[in-house]
Symmetry: C2
Subunit: 155 residues, 2 copies
């Protein structure tokens, strides 16, 4: 027998948004050039008012250097009756190679850890540990964060 | 015992990209206003050179009407050793309420089906079936599509 259900969509409060951001490491980052968007999956660490990440030099970094306005979507779409989406609107900031990355503390340590770098080829991990200049350590400073949640239950 | 593996990242050809697009209904759509990006999950149907979708009036639609340059990211991140990402760059086109939606054939039928509308509240589904003007039927005409795949295996 099919059960009748009702689906309710509600806004997440800032604490709930922060929990979603901290509970995941996978987001979809979007940047813009000449009013065209570009979106890629990223692996990140959420700490305080930042999402920290690493990337290779490439289109995304070029675009973000020119226009630091980015957004990061983090969603949990567990099944048809339950999903949460959080959208971070923020500013790209690059942490130069010459600066002391260790001062980023936990975020820096985590970004070097196995659980973060699973998606990187082995050679990249080694170069990352050695501080090769091909890699860009950056943060998205959170300007606004909004979220929505779908909940369902019996009518 | 840990097995040594090597991770290889390769480009997907157009046929492989099309297969990823057709094999999913979940994408992340990005649009742009004043050089700021906005990204949301969407449910879509891929047919020929289009991604078809429905949405409610709102920020996304306002932005896309002003600037039809959008992108849609479709990714399959199954585990640490295997992922595929496909990025569609395309143009938003709205199918007006007055036009004969049935001419969109399979896409229109599917968009009305249970497997597509699972994420919509029941009331919305009814209004959708009745052709309420609150809903926007649109397509993203694919201009370019690119994709990458990570594969891993023993060294």
């Amino acid at each position: 027998m099919l059960e009748k259900t009702v689906l309710v969509i509600r806004e997440l409060d800032p604490q709930e948004c922060a929990k979603v951001l901290s509970g995941s490491n996978l987001g979809r980052l979007s940047c813009v050039r000449d009013n065209f968007p570009y979106t890629v999956p990223i692996s990140y660490v959420h700490e305080n008012n930042w999402l920290y990440s690493f990337t290779l030099e490439g289109q995304k970094v070029e675009w973000m250097r020119e226009n630091p306005n980015v957004c990061v979507l983090v969603d949990e779409i567990s099944d048809s009756r339950e999903w949460r989406t959080v959208l971070v609107e923020g500013r790209f900031e690059e942490f130069p190679q010459s600066s002391d990355w260790a001062r980023y503390g936990h975020a820096w340590s985590f970004l070097q850890s196995r659980s973060y770098t699973w998606w990187l080829p082995g050679g990249v991990k080694r170069q990352l540990a050695e501080g090769s200049t091909k890699y860009v350590f950056y943060g998205v400073r959170i300007v606004t964060v909004t979220g929505r949640q779908a909940l369902s239950g019996p009518v």
